[in-house]
Symmetry: C2
Subunit: 228 residues, 2 copies
């Protein structure tokens, strides 16, 4: 016997790399903490050495996981559908957030994004400024357009309005996937309620935030200054 190596299917470069990335993303999102190449390899069903055939080092692998697993699954159609004024905005929001929650706010995605926030390659700022801000603007503008109300000129104020709903939905995913909460109320119902609440509170919230549009910009508490 001896010299018995583990038989392994031989895949093409791209197939194997994609497979490693997928298994590694799964492993990373579930286990987290010390990412050990040996365990990662075991989870991917390959030898540890093979990782270094595809990635120069561990950090490069993790970078690729983030790039493919975080920005990837966002659907561009969402922007189109949200801006389709042939339907009432309430209906568009319901359709969007159900899909967003089911498609994007998965266990893997949610955990990876937050996990990355503890590392040097924090993906959240990029994701937020690159995609979410535009999403929030779209949503808030669509509601305002249907109501015939005028929005504050400052983008940060518009974003905060959108965050009220988007933050509530996102936090629902965090509770479920990170805090491991059992959400016993059907999720669609919760999301609908969050949207109802957002829409009903739209004008009151707007007038509260409008008081600032005329006011000054500095009043922040504690450590936050700078930028807009």
């Amino acid at each position: 016997m001896q010299k018995r190596r583990t038989p392994r299917k031989r895949l093409t470069h791209d197939e194997r790399k994609a497979l490693i990335l997928d298994r590694a993303a799964e492993y990373l999102s579930e286990n987290g903490f010390p990412v050990r190449t040996r365990r990662l390899a075991a989870a991917a069903g390959i030898s540890q050495r093979l990782i270094y055939h595809f990635f120069p080092n561990k950090s490069a692998l993790i970078d690729e996981i983030y790039d493919s697993a975080i920005a990837g699954p966002f659907k561009a159609i969402w922007f189109v559908e949200l801006a389709d004024r042939s339907k009432p905005v309430a209906e568009r929001l319901r359709a969007f957030y159900r899909d967003y929650y089911a498609t994007l706010l998965t266990r893997r995605w949610t955990r990876l994004l937050i996990y990355s926030s503890f590392s040097a390659q924090n993906m959240a700022p990029r994701y937020i400024s690159g995609i979410i801000h535009r999403l929030l603007e779209t949503i808030v503008e669509e509601v305002a357009a249907e109501r015939g109300v005028k929005l504050p000129a400052e983008k940060p104020v518009v974003h905060e309005i959108g965050w009220i709903l988007h933050g509530a939905v996102s936090h629902l995913a965090i509770r479920r996937h990170l805090f491991r909460a059992n959400i016993s109320v059907p999720v669609e119902l919760v999301i609908d309620a969050q949207i109802d609440s957002f829409l009903a509170g739209f004008e009151p919230m707007l007038s509260r935030l409008a008081q600032r549009s005329a006011g000054e910009s500095r009043r922040s508490n504690g450590a936050q200054r700078r930028r807009a």
Copy 2:
């Protein structure tokens, strides 16, 4: 020369232990990932060996950090103040969430709680079922009492109502401390707007969720079953 040891102030057992816990909590919340006892000791200004004089192993240290830094800072008075019906509930909510955000939703606390969610000793479930659920019930009941409306009998439904506001505020802290977002709108104003939105949407949301009180309990999507 030689045998020159680093001069170090000699503290009492409890003083030193408290100091280590504090520095370690700071280190853990800022750095995260691989918690290395040597770096931790360096951050605390002590030798690595001394950690093992106070804690049997690394995991015991981390457990103590979580216990002291997460459950500790919650103020019991908050329950009393929130239930003080001599003031309008809107005012109570504003006072509470400003204090909650400033006192509890700090950088250290927020990051530690979420960090712990990736480890075996996930603190969030305990914190939520031990404290937050009671908090949510108080808040929702106070609003309902002032409005003279009746709440659904099921606790999970009441919790979801409370989470709409609590989740939005919590997510604000996550954005700030984890995603490193610059919140350029003054935080008090954002919180006020979130409260306005919540209060304005209270009844619509309630009637949306009430439709379930009579309905069935199973309709969940995907992986969630079990418990209530």
